[in-house]
Symmetry: C2
Subunit: 192 residues, 2 copies
């Protein structure tokens, strides 16, 4: 039995999710079995088509087709721009249907880390934590259920303390320069 | 015609090459054509098998089966450990056969950015520059040949000034914690 490690890819720079995807590609190339759980994402990312077609990779998406924000996060103007596409909630009380969907994902994560897979990627889990869709208790359950040989990867900004404490490897993707700051919009095939 | 951008993934953290691989997967998922040129790497990485099998991705490796180091980089003890697997050279004068191989890769890069491809990844090019295998002039030739719609990605530590100057997006993969520092060796399917 080879020991597995816990990775965190966080920070405001580009490359967190793509680094995890690259790890998945490398792992299946070495004959490993990989489970990717994408929190807060539905089937709207270009890479998903390819990932679904590669034997050895299981992809599960856990996103709702609307955005969420905690009260006080957005200005009135931003709120108007988003219109019906966003749901605002008081911190700690996320939309019930979204919490239920995430909880199901956490159960799938517990299942994945406790059997079968060599690598489990919890993409954007850090953000699900930040948005109160997942709790510290949920993380502890996942960490506790993990077979020590499973490589476990967390991605997303604002990694919570319990994940940073548990991690063997932490990489901060630090934004030095980004074209977003010049108004370049999200592009299919590059950002999603 | 959509404008393409120049990305740099650099720094001492994990995830530079895997982020580029993830970008390639995302791009082909969106129907784009991708060329990956891997400098200083031969066919010894697990991800290469998968990348070679995906239609829309061309993979070219440009590495020699030995390590190189500039004079003064290693202690006598380190030198002994590496034995015959390493070639030491005075800064600016890399092994001739390695320089020739890299130069061929640079010609392929010029070819790739000037036609056909939507995304060109020059993996570890920054390190090839740092090891004098590629020159500032080579970079300028690649940048000049690039069609403006091509997305061009440079990876590797120690990104040189001319690449940082040209970049639209720079991400520093910053090592916050790494298991290497605890003596964990390189593992197949995770590091290579």
């Amino acid at each position: 039995m080879t020991k597995g490690y816990i990775h965190v890819y966080t920070g405001d720079g580009k490359g967190k999710t793509t680094a995890a995807i690259g790890l998945a590609i490398r792992a299946v190339g070495a004959g490993k079995k990989v489970c990717i759980l994408q929190f807060m994402k539905s089937l709207a990312y270009s890479e998903q088509k390819i990932l679904q077609s590669i034997p050895g990779i299981t992809l599960i998406t856990l996103g709702k087709p609307y955005f969420i924000a905690k009260e006080g996060m957005l200005t009135d103007e931003q709120r108007k721009t988003w219109g019906n596409h966003i749901r605002i909630y008081p911190a700690g009380h996320p939309p019930k249907d979204y919490r239920e969907m995430t909880l199901k994902g956490i159960e799938q994560a517990i299942d994945a880390v406790s059997k079968n897979y060599d690598m489990v990627i919890l993409d954007e889990y850090n953000m699900a934590r930040w948005y109160d869709l997942a709790t510290e208790e949920d993380t502890e359950k996942i960490l506790k259920a993990r077979r020590p040989e499973v490589e476990l990867i967390f991605t997303g900004r604002n990694a919570p303390k319990e994940i940073l404490d548990a991690a063997d490897l932490i990489t901060e993707m630090k934004k030095i320069r980004h074209y977003y700051d010049k108004g370049v919009p999200v592009r299919t095939g590059i950002e999603n």
